[in-house]
Symmetry: D4
Amino acid sequence: MERDELKALLRSVAEGETSPDGALQSLRLDPVKSLGYAVIDTHRSLRQGAAEVVFGAPKTPEQIRGIVSAMLESGQKRILITRLSPKKAEALSDIEGFVYDGTSRLGIIGGDRPADGIGKIVVATGGTGDIPVAEEAARTAEFLGNEVVRVYDVGVAGLHRLLARLDDIMDASVIIAVAGMEGALASVIGGLADCPVIAVPTSVGYGASFDGLSALLSMLNSCASGVSVVNIDNGFGAGYQASMINHIGRNDI
Amino acid sequence: MERDELKALLRSVAEGETSPDGALQSLRLDPVKSLGYAVIDTHRSLRQGAAEVVFGAPKTPEQIRGIVSAMLESGQKRILITRLSPKKAEALSDIEGFVYDGTSRLGIIGGDRPADGIGKIVVATGGTGDIPVAEEAARTAEFLGNEVVRVYDVGVAGLHRLLARLDDIMDASVIIAVAGMEGALASVIGGLADCPVIAVPTSVGYGASFDGLSALLSMLNSCASGVSVVNIDNGFGAGYQASMINHIGRNDI
Amino acid sequence: MERDELKALLRSVAEGETSPDGALQSLRLDPVKSLGYAVIDTHRSLRQGAAEVVFGAPKTPEQIRGIVSAMLESGQKRILITRLSPKKAEALSDIEGFVYDGTSRLGIIGGDRPADGIGKIVVATGGTGDIPVAEEAARTAEFLGNEVVRVYDVGVAGLHRLLARLDDIMDASVIIAVAGMEGALASVIGGLADCPVIAVPTSVGYGASFDGLSALLSMLNSCASGVSVVNIDNGFGAGYQASMINHIGRNDI
Amino acid sequence: MERDELKALLRSVAEGETSPDGALQSLRLDPVKSLGYAVIDTHRSLRQGAAEVVFGAPKTPEQIRGIVSAMLESGQKRILITRLSPKKAEALSDIEGFVYDGTSRLGIIGGDRPADGIGKIVVATGGTGDIPVAEEAARTAEFLGNEVVRVYDVGVAGLHRLLARLDDIMDASVIIAVAGMEGALASVIGGLADCPVIAVPTSVGYGASFDGLSALLSMLNSCASGVSVVNIDNGFGAGYQASMINHIGRNDI
Amino acid sequence: MERDELKALLRSVAEGETSPDGALQSLRLDPVKSLGYAVIDTHRSLRQGAAEVVFGAPKTPEQIRGIVSAMLESGQKRILITRLSPKKAEALSDIEGFVYDGTSRLGIIGGDRPADGIGKIVVATGGTGDIPVAEEAARTAEFLGNEVVRVYDVGVAGLHRLLARLDDIMDASVIIAVAGMEGALASVIGGLADCPVIAVPTSVGYGASFDGLSALLSMLNSCASGVSVVNIDNGFGAGYQASMINHIGRNDI
Amino acid sequence: MERDELKALLRSVAEGETSPDGALQSLRLDPVKSLGYAVIDTHRSLRQGAAEVVFGAPKTPEQIRGIVSAMLESGQKRILITRLSPKKAEALSDIEGFVYDGTSRLGIIGGDRPADGIGKIVVATGGTGDIPVAEEAARTAEFLGNEVVRVYDVGVAGLHRLLARLDDIMDASVIIAVAGMEGALASVIGGLADCPVIAVPTSVGYGASFDGLSALLSMLNSCASGVSVVNIDNGFGAGYQASMINHIGRNDI
Amino acid sequence: MERDELKALLRSVAEGETSPDGALQSLRLDPVKSLGYAVIDTHRSLRQGAAEVVFGAPKTPEQIRGIVSAMLESGQKRILITRLSPKKAEALSDIEGFVYDGTSRLGIIGGDRPADGIGKIVVATGGTGDIPVAEEAARTAEFLGNEVVRVYDVGVAGLHRLLARLDDIMDASVIIAVAGMEGALASVIGGLADCPVIAVPTSVGYGASFDGLSALLSMLNSCASGVSVVNIDNGFGAGYQASMINHIGRNDI
Amino acid sequence: MERDELKALLRSVAEGETSPDGALQSLRLDPVKSLGYAVIDTHRSLRQGAAEVVFGAPKTPEQIRGIVSAMLESGQKRILITRLSPKKAEALSDIEGFVYDGTSRLGIIGGDRPADGIGKIVVATGGTGDIPVAEEAARTAEFLGNEVVRVYDVGVAGLHRLLARLDDIMDASVIIAVAGMEGALASVIGGLADCPVIAVPTSVGYGASFDGLSALLSMLNSCASGVSVVNIDNGFGAGYQASMINHIGRNDI
């Protein structure tokens, strides 16, 4: 809860417009709406300017439907559902305005917000296998109002492929570097670019990649300055933070 | 074996009522009943005041049925079967008084013991995906004679949701904090509450959650005092210990 | 902040006794006192009934002295400083009422609170090498107002030693089981006792004990019900939670 | 190759009975028979007195059949096939004298060798879920000529169950302790018994058991003297070594 | 090498002003200056607008001095030396304009750049022990031209301490959350704030903190959106990226 | 890009034959061909003399077909597709000249290059279960123009089997040692042979083999000089490097 | 407590010679002697035929002296103190009959028991660096009454060195294989020998040996039958078990 | 033992020149010389053409001196002692012809062999901190008769530095890539070069570099073909194998 809202509430109590008990109630219960299995923060889009995001993986279609309904009722216009399996997506396909993207496994209601960021977000991948995670990042950023440039399959074992896209790298305001295996892409891009790089390790690989651990450690130890890291396969997290960075100093992410 | 029983037995030997060989026999063989594949501690409900618990996961339906029958024959009234798959539950559904709870995967014979604890046990979760583990804890505690308050989906990324349930947190005699991913719920609740907190890490998450390792380590390193931890996804263990704590100083758990 | 305090404050605003700005100030700044490098929760002993605890390891003697002074000034009577090296202890030795225990590495100001728990707390160790951690637990529990029974060097490789202390085990209201190496003590005690067991893995051992990891995993996987675990070598955490459990249903820990 | 055989061969060369080239051939190629995908040590039963063992897991039924045929042809009488799935066993069921044990997943050709060991081998388990691994150990030992006593479901959380079988424990010449979860059984038995204990960690458990790692580390760190450890779920290895120990000082294992 | 420079060079070749061999030489050797043990990128401040940073830990004082001299000669005005031990700092103390900060272990030549970022960078810590890492972040950000607000010792076990600084949290353009042990600070701040959060796990803790691994995993699994992570104890990396973010859309970091 | 090509290009600019913009274009875009989801390095067979290799595992049959078509169009004659499942292979079976090897899971277009290496490459395995990985190495080496000698099932537990093939070991110019479980084969061969040994750990095993980690660590710690290691199950990588070594000092690998 | 003793005690109660309370006392307190910091099992040499062993590492010289005195008073003749630092050894040097061996870090009181085992125990090492651990095993076995043959520095990278000692290997009744780094020695010896092999991984090595983890995993995964493993650097444990095996079927270890 | 030697020996037996017992002796004992604590393979320089190498780390100066003396006596001319601390080096400084290199911690007797390899070996490092390991590799290769080109401090975060040395990279016959932190250097060089790359992870770094684990995993997962890996900080192993590769097809390494 923000300072101003709190102040206003207290003033309203002081002026007798709100009773202490009512204020207490308001402080406690108002901004959330409980469904028993989930608690929805209906004030969040006001507070953070963000559409609410639903993490779809551990929820049943019924739970997702319930949460979405409650959000729409409370005035939410745009909803992003992440890690949504094709099967669950099908079960939700009758919701008005629902669109499903199979590559990124994202479900979107209400469409993308118009792109209004400071610059462009580049999403780069080391290989073809990293594309699903990259698309999760790219589509999330687009959903949140950003122009996205895709630079795919430019792994460091073939520097020519990466250097051929140097203009895009140099023009970015934020770069999301998505790579599995040895995850060296983040360091090389971090050394070339002038902007923040968000590294996303992926679970692409086998053996000693240990389901993404190798790429994760590699990215955390990047010798390039300006690189930070999100969880393995967390394309959404990278897209979300990139959007925040691309809207720095503005009211919304 | 308790001191008093041992003393009584020895006295009975001293008074000639029991022969040494019989006493030896009694010390060795009596309180357990062997089925070949399992050994049942038929004196346990006397010794610990607890109903016997059957760990269902690694056993065949036939083995579980055999164990349950032996228990019922020896006078056990209430039996809890944990980690019971729906398929195994179906195979046991003809046992008299058997009830199965699909969410917690618990099978219960003989119903819950009347609630007679010192206070209330709060079971809180970080997200919707943690509910199956939380229900294992909650139903176990109820089975063992406790009143349970559920506070679900109050993860720390939305403090409002948690603070809205502050009264429940403050009123608890024991709190079970169930969370996956970064497991921060235990620390935040531990800092707010005046009572012991039992933290249950869950395997909800992906990538660097490493099937619950992240939440486990996080909870073990909690900077809040008064937090202890059970195994990943071990709702039963948390519910059982919470019940013990909630019956401290009484004869039964 | 508790419900009643908040209500009182709001009422005071409603009655004009407190201005909205003052209330805001009070909500924000009052219960904590900032030293720049540390923020002291001066209301905590009211809220949780607990003396404040200072984690000494990462702090300089100067920082500890500053924190202690601020606490004493705000009316705190009993202070516990954990993980205090002998050298730091010496640097603090001129503080009035300061006592240092070299085995547990605890510094105590204001002495122990009178023992007023529900029952006795048993602290057991597997070996002689576990005693420093055990003493941290025992002295913490005594400081917080508990009677403690020490049952040391009763590791499971010599069951006679443990069974010789069976009376103490059976009489406890809470047991703290401290063990390194394979950490089996917690399971064996957990199977014998009727009360909650808090297991403390220690870093005693070598090779594949991996600085306590072996004992930690062992304890988390205990097949005995009623066992929970704290961090490796965290005697303080075990003593603190044991005290909480031993005061369940009373106002103070 | 043993000293005596080598000496005899060299002598035969010296006496002109064998040509140098023939000797070389003999040294190199004789004792093994190559199938392309496998090399069979046809002299092994002479050298080690042991029947040959086939590790079935990574081989196709065709490969196993080929290996078995080559062994039988070279005069092998008893063959043990480990980690044989029911499906593969079915595919081999027409081999003469082939018997399959579903619990231990062992296939046996030629039956058990008559029991001729120094004493009895005790196979103990912590729980019911450990029985398949225990049976692999027990049946292997029986196959190799040992009398086996089974002591199942005597985990340390219920000491009575274990103490009720104390006579068997005390009479053993070797004990195989099979346990998952915290693996404490090995330490407790190691403390009670006068004979070597071979500990077998199992993958029974969940969460922080990490597929047997917890039991493995626990057993390696046993505070009881006289305990050694084999790989997780390696019932065969334990049974084989126990048989070796039980035949110490005799010509055969 | 940037597009424009390359184009200019090629044009100069086309116009005969530069010979092909000279161009080749220039492409290869110019922007770097070799000292044998180190290669200095003398064009970097042009390319990235950043002062050059020297990673002091693995270098001898002589190597650092050599690198610094070469940089100053090539016109570099501001140099930051990280992870500089007090002993090495003393050995460098005669360099003109060299200033050493013992808490952050940073050596600075040429002073801070005037603060010209979009907003303020907040650096928060969970405890007092995290301050050295936090200062590395804060001083790095100040060196690179940012206003920094310090919010120290506001760990989640005492939410009051954090909420008392809510205004600072809400006003930040970027937040650096520094915490050891369970690392929950990042998630709680991530849930409260509207801006990007860079999480820095620290090695503060003991036992199952595994030198920062616990905090690292916790932060990577944060359930709050908008959080990314740098290496354990990498205050510099967080400060550097925060500065980049705080200068997005401007020419310099 | 090689020195000579670059020099030629610059000369062509200097002589006015190529415009600066054209040269820039050429430097950036020429040697790669983009399919959106993949970027093909069409100059690679010139630069490295190697046929291009497609990592099949993370790609859809459609993507593989697209990549293969683009390669063939650009003049590539021989293509190797690794980690190709039988199902995907079937979907590609209509491509002209496509041959699939089920054991090694390799798809080959254009057949093997004539063997022209310095000597023979020996591929040895510890057991029968390692053969699929060994065949990946052997077939890769044959594809790249090498004579390969297979020495299978010569694990160190039966030294006779290995010594029987000593001539092959001693004659090799490079040896690839493929083994799971304890991976000791690499050390024993490394001690016997005079040539470089490339060790390939495999995921064959169970329990504490941790999917190949045991063999990997074992091989990395080999006490034999002259052994290096590739990723777990990476037969391709070993075959590729062995071919490079076997063509040292010649123009092609 | 053994069956016969228990029976005798009960009989004595039945015949009125012992009172029930006395029997209880005897059952509980007799066989152990408490020093506060340690509990000594004074009946152990009767029960197990073994001299008592003191694990010296975590104990102060004063504690060791106290334990030794209590043992000697209760009639113990031979005492082995393991992991005794030179400094502690010096502090104990005035104890009558105390001898210290610096290589194995063992302190011995009362000298070795006459060798009366079934056969010889061979202690083999991979390298020179493994000798301290090997000596701990060898001296322990000698202390417990075994003839020991040392076969040092016969690592598998030089098979000749091992084969030169083949007679000793073939003659052993038990072999202790001590090796660090890749730990392959155990597998090779296991394949050559006819007797049980106890493998001792050592922490000799660097990098990916991870303080003995590599050798430990390697030995656990040995493809040779008849190999079991003790903790890293646990020479004592191997020597103790080897002695047990070498006395199988006799009354003493 | 090689085929020809064995054949000759057998022939000599056949011709009565050697007695069977003598032949046996010769087979067993000849090629090695035992010092008790070490066994020296005096035939090795014949068999492998390599000078013997002494791993100095775990040996005392006395042991090293003894080994060196025995080697010199048996005619060895060149000896390399690795991981030799300055202190041990000083203790050996009176040995004739002994030279110590402090950076690489190598002691050399008899000087370098004349360079006679196929081409040049390039040793590259990511940073200045990697130089000690790189020098171990470089000096080892020079000792074994190779020309070495050093390309230091060319980490991937500054591609210009690496590209400036492209000629050296392209001219190499083998490349040793030495890097800590994220270890990306191996992949980038592997993509650029036409020759085998041996990657050496170093323990340079902090936090999540986990003493070289990050670089090790990164290098094992390299997406560039032709890269193999040695142990962390194992410069010697890389230099040794590089020399072997650089002498392929010749009689000596």
